[in-house]
């Protein structure tokens, strides 16, 4: 029956070490024989004994001590040579061989056990510390989510509550101001509705329960729906570049419209009045590509990398909510990714930005030129 190897003891070099110990014993006893008691060669026996004890614990220590005793006896009292009677020094020496073997073995075993315990302790500590930082991140992320959400809700609420209060306090306010304030209440409420939807989407995405209701939709129709949504609030500078008429895809129409409205709304916000915002759609080898382009201020390169994140890691290592960007862009990207696609941005300061949505086409026949989209849909973001 094979015994399991004890780590650190019967490790790879066991055979080599046995050979070394045996060799040392042989050499020492030979030298001892040659010296025939004139030089204290017998001290050299301690070498293989120590080595045996350190390498193989009690077994090695005792084994090599006994072997040393045997060889000593052989050399001094059996082999031909000058007859030297057994005396107290010899006996003491033999006892010392044993003692050294056993003591060294014990010390070596203890040391080995302690270092194993220390290793296990360290591993345990590392696991605990990893779990701890995960927990901290999660709870910070949850707190930051609440903060992001609350600012997104508080902004329209301020407009609604404030405007309504002004109207209540001033019944004789002039009609033009009155209709402006009513408009603000309406628009803020619409934004609030959007925010609530985004928050619910974000919560569903985070908990992995987000799902799409896909249906075949003409691309041109979605773009037109988006344009109409903005015309309805008086924003006319949206420019739909005609998409190919037959182009269709399978998407959650409501959610995709949400994404486009978010992108176009941002484009308006970040470009000077009077400049157009273009939406165009085209097929490409990955599927359908929809781009929203503005001639606005552009986005700082440093910000580009975290513009889609809900949270980012600040210089001091803490996770901070990406309060400025709010939910819109991060939820938009999550929705597009849930379709198996991706949302990306290209931007030049002073020239403008282009946000690009790519929705992969399902079940395309294999093409030689392009590889099909390899995007993984991952709602668990």
């Amino acid at each position: 029956m094979r015994t399991l190897p004890v780590p650190g003891r019967w490790s790879g070099g066991a055979g080599a070490r046995i050979a070394l110990i045996t060799g040392l014993l042989a050499i020492v006893s030979y030298l001892d024989h040659l010296a025939s008691g004139r030089l204290p060669i017998s001290h050299l026996y301690y070498l293989p004994i120590l080595l045996g004890a350190i390498s193989f614990g009690y077994v090695g220590g005792l084994g090599s001590a006994v072997a040393a005793i045997g060889l000593y006896h052989l050399t001094h009292f059996v082999l031909p040579g000058p007859a030297v009677p057994l005396d107290e020094a010899d006996l003491l020496r033999l006892v010392l061989f044993l003692a050294v073997g056993v003591t060294t073995a014990k010390l070596s075993n203890d040391r080995r056990r302690m270092s194993r315990l220390a290793r296990e302790l360290e591993m345990g500590n590392r696991e605990l510390s990893a779990l701890n930082s995960q927990l901290t991140e999660l709870s910070q992320a949850r707190a930051d989510f609440v903060a992001v959400a609350s600012h997104e809700l508080r902004t329209p609420l301020t407009a609604i509550l404030g405007s309504a209060a002004l109207l209540v306090d001033r019944p004789t306010i002039d009609p033009e101001r009155r209709s402006k304030l009513l408009r603000h209440i309406h628009d803020a409420a619409a934004r609030l509705q959007n925010t609530v939807e985004s928050l619910l989407d974000a919560a569903l995405i985070e908990s992995g329960r987000f799902s799409l209701r896909r249906e075949p939709v003409a691309v041109a129709q979605v773009l037109e729906d988006c344009r109409q949504a903005f015309l309805a609030i008086g924003e006319e500078r949206i420019n739909v570049v005609n998409p190919p008429p037959g182009l269709a895809f399978s998407v959650d129409r409501h959610k995709l419209l949400q994404v486009l409205i978010n992108l176009v709304g941002n484009a308006f916000k970040y470009s000077p009045p009077g400049t157009p915002v273009d939406i165009c759609a085209a097929p490409d080898c990955e599927g359908v590509k929809i781009s929203v382009t503005d001639c606005g201020y552009g986005i700082e390169p440093a910000d580009l990398s975290y513009i889609f994140e809900r949270y980012y890691r600040a210089a001091d290592g803490r996770i901070r909510a990406n309060r400025g960007a709010g939910l819109g862009l991060s939820v938009s990207r999550d929705i597009v990714r849930a379709h198996g696609g991706d949302l990306s941005v290209r931007s030049r300061l002073g020239e403008g930005s282009t946000f690009t949505v790519v929705i992969p086409a399902p079940m395309e026949p294999p093409r030689e030129v392009c590889t099909p989209a390899g995007q993984k849909s991952d709602p668990h973001l």
């Binding site: 600012h151 997104e152 609420l157 301020t158 803020a188 700082e300 910000d303």
Partner: protein
């Protein structure tokens, strides 16, 4: 509305009404704030984002700036720091009122670089805003003699 802002508005119509710069990306909120301030007799320059805010600040020095910390692309924090820089180099101190949905303590933590003269946490009512604006304008007028 309290009497304070009514009489404030009246007295302002008699002299040059203060010019306030409002930097707020949310259209509805910006519209409401502009209306509220104009009703109290102020002139309001509306800016939809930090870039427009900087341009407007450079082209005409306002008596007071109201800016939202929670703006995307150019955040209110960055705008605040940039405005303070311009103050020092070009135009002298301008009181800044910051509005935010964050907790005031957290906002204060981050904005020590260009600490604003006042903070308002959303949602706030017109009263709080107008009182803060009036106080800052008055103290500045007092300082200038």
């Amino acid at each position: 509305m309290s009497h304070n802002s009514e009489t404030g508005a009246l007295s302002r119509r008699l002299e040059q009404s203060p010019y306030l710069l409002l930097v707020e990306d949310d259209d509805a909120l910006r519209g409401y704030l502009a209306n509220c301030l104009e009703l109290a007799g102020h002139q309001v320059g509306e800016c939809r984002n930090g870039f427009e805010g900087l341009e407007a600040f450079d082209s005409r020095k306002p008596d007071l700036v109201i800016l939202d910390l929670d703006m995307p692309v150019m955040s209110g924090f960055r705008l605040l720091a940039l405005l303070r820089g311009r103050e020092r180099v070009l135009r002298g101190p301008v009181p800044i009122v910051v509005i935010t949905g964050q907790d005031i303590e957290e906002a204060m933590e981050v904005t020590t670089i260009g600490a604003p003269e006042a903070y308002l946490k959303k949602p706030f009512n017109s009263q709080s805003l107008l009182v803060a604006v009036d106080e800052l304008l008055a103290s500045r007028a007092g300082a200038e003699g």
